[in-house]
Each structure stands twice: as structure tokens, then as C-alpha cells.
Symmetry: C2
Subunit: 261 residues, 2 copies
Amino acid sequence: MKKEKITIIKVGGKIVEEQTSLGNLLDRFTAIEGKKVLIHGGGRSATQMAERLGIESRMVAGRRITDEATLQVVTMVYGGLVNKNIVAQLQARGANALGLTGADCNIIKAHKRPVKDIDYGFVGDVEHADGEMLCKLIEQGIVPVVAPLTHDGRGNMLNTNADTMAAETAKALSPFYEVTLMYCFEFPGVMRNPDDAESVIATITPKVFEELVADGTVSGGMIPKIENALNAIDNGVKRVIITKDDVIDGTKGTHITAEAE
Amino acid sequence: MKKEKITIIKVGGKIVEEQTSLGNLLDRFTAIEGKKVLIHGGGRSATQMAERLGIESRMVAGRRITDEATLQVVTMVYGGLVNKNIVAQLQARGANALGLTGADCNIIKAHKRPVKDIDYGFVGDVEHADGEMLCKLIEQGIVPVVAPLTHDGRGNMLNTNADTMAAETAKALSPFYEVTLMYCFEFPGVMRNPDDAESVIATITPKVFEELVADGTVSGGMIPKIENALNAIDNGVKRVIITKDDVIDGTKGTHITAEAE
């Protein structure tokens, strides 16, 4: 039986933190047909709020070191300020949004990252995403709006990477839906030439990916990004699209799939 | 057909803002049999956070004047910090908690309070609570944890009195359940003699209330509190209990009902 389609959009950065760009994004999000989920970041707002509260933001390889004071900041900024702002604005557009962290309905449980070289503090590595619970909510016409926070099942919230939340949500929903996972970032897709917006690679399959790595077209931080996308594909997600945030209708960007469509 | 019972507990003040007292409260809340809803305040935390951010808290007759900066504070403190802390701790106790503001699933819609003598700013007067939506969630085994925030349906969050949220939620759920609404406060109930904890009035019916007002036993701020409770009773709520937060099993406190039970 053909599964119904669902679109999971991950947006982060400035776009969700400035009212004009957020409004435009939410217009486009609302226009997406069918079932959908929005997963958001909010790092800039968290950094600003921490600064106003005299809490130093320490980042290692793009990840926030989350001590207790910082956990309070991200819990209130991601789970409260950014999330509820998005929820209220989606409601105004007729989408029945429901703000969620991983703790709500226990949708994403995690454990505190073990300390190796670096102690990231209250940062969660995802253990389990409850696709069935999410599916029940979605089937009631609810549009989940997920903040990058999980919990450890022992009463503690944990700061969690929004890209990871998106991938885990996509995988957990794939038994129930044909899932398209869309990562919005500042570029129009994976480009052959970083200076040429026209050089977006339309489709990357595992075979194409091998070739792109071998000939050096794809390198650096783009390799783990695509590997993560291929991991999602291996775990049932139909396609991952990497695209710019002003195009979320699925027509553009780089499509990462098991086989060329 | 006999309706299933539900207990709606409203707690505010210090009890939800200090880890030890919150833990004790959540133990007792989790132990309540059957379906339940928790509605919380968080005013002290909001005032503290506002102070740390250099935002002055202005109160008129116990109500917070909510300008734009204050709205941001209450949105992140009530909807993020306090709410998610409670949700994570209920999950740790095996209750499938879901944090909600009025914007989430559009459960409580409000409008900005009209300016008369005082401009309260972004404060919401409740228009409609969606009992059917709440009921659907509750029937899935979900325990709603409601923060004192609503939305105006036009994209704005609004600061809303937690007692009012509790009463409106209770009324909205009464077509579906036999509702007990419990207000936890610092006294063991409505007392004949404020200095004597043993003088709690066990039951107040409309007739008893008239007598208590007539003979001066009940006066001042307790009159509108009981009037609100009687209004909830008139609108389908089975009983309202005013009690101390260390007894939420329904055995003590003042029971306000249509007829003596």
C-alpha cells in the first residue's frame, strides 16, 4: 500500500529568529500540501539571551557547551520563546501547530553525552524517537513544531542538535509515511563550484556520492552532512533535500535518494 | 451515562519553582488516580528573570503589566523554563506529560484585554477553550501541563492568569468528564477563623456562600475566589476544591459544589 507523504522541514539560524524572514518561511511552510513537521533551531537567540544574562557561550566545533545555566537558557529560549512564537504564528495561518520538545509525550528520549575529550555538559545523544506517538498526533491534523531539546527520562532536559532531531524524527516516521526530509541552509544545495549557484547537483545517490568524494567535488564538512542524509535514507526515509530556505516546495536543491528519481 | 472523572490541579507560587517542593508536588500529582491535568503559574521566576534582564516588573492588583519585553520573559519562563521542567519531571515519574500553552493545538484562544483605566498590555482575556481537542489528547493517555499563556489567533502570545486558565479548562472539559478542579494555595481551605487551621469550612454551596457573606465570615479577596468557583460549578464543573498544596487527594480543603455531597 502506498504510504501517505509527509514533509519534515528543518530550519535554523537567522530565518527563524527575525520576524520578517520567519513570517515568509511560515507562509511557505503553511503552503506545503499534506502532512508536515517543522523542526527549528534558535542558537543565535540563545547566545544573545545568555549574553544578556552574563552567561558565557562556549562552542566547540559548532556545538554549544551546555552547563546548568546554559541549559536553563536553551530550555527557555528554544522551548519557550522561539517555539511559542512559531506556534502562535502558524495558528494565525490556520495550521494547527503544537510545540514539542523531546520530553513532551516522550517523543525523543536521549542520554547525556558521555565525556570523552570534551565535556559537552547537558547535551543529549538521541536514544529513541517515538514515531507512533508523533503519528497519532499528526493523524489528528496536528502540525508538530519541534524544538532542539530532549530529555533523559530522569527529569532532566538536554540540549540537542536540531539536524539530529530532524533526522531522528524522519527515521521514526518512515514506517508510517513516505518521508521527505528537507534541510534548509544558506546555499541552494550541494554545489560543484561553491562560487556558482547554478552548479547545484540535482541528485546524489550512494553511487554518485562515492564518485563526488573520489574526485574531490565534495569535501570537508559537506561529507558528514551527506553521510547523515544517506544514513536517513538507509533507515527508511524516502529522500533528503538540501536547499535554500526560500525554496521549500521540493522543486530545487540537492535531492539525496537511494536511487535517482 | 456516568462520566469518567478527571482532576484538574492548579498550582502556582513557590511550590512549582523550587525543586524540592516541586518534586513532592509531582509525586502527589502522579499518585492521583485516573485522568488529570496540571495548570501552573511561575510568577516569581518571571519576576526574577525580568530583574536579571533589567526589565522592571509592574504589578496592578496582583496582575502583571505585560509590555513587549515582559511578554518575551513570560513566554520563555512560563512556556519554556517552568513548563518543560515540570514535563521532564512528570515523564521521569511515568506520566506522559505534554506541555501546552493556549496556542498549542489552539486549546485556549484569547483577545488582548481592552484598555480601560489601566493598560495591562499583552494580557489575554479568554475567549474559547477547546475541550474537545484537550479531550482527544487526554484520551490518548496524555497528561496536559498547561502554562499561563494564551494567543490571539493573529500570531501573538498573551500573558494570562493561571486561575482563569484553570477555570476555563475545567469548564471546557465538563461536557466530557466529571470534573474536579483543585486550587492549591497557602491555606488549608476557606477558614472561619484565619488564625485557626482547624476552622476550615468543609463544604460551600451557593446557599452556604450567601450565609457566609451575610454574616461576614467570608469577605475581601475570598469573595471573588468563591464566586469564580461557583461560576465554574454553574458551567458544568462538578466540584471545586480550595486546599493546601500538600493535600491534593481531595480528602481535605473546602469543597465548593452545587449541593452538599
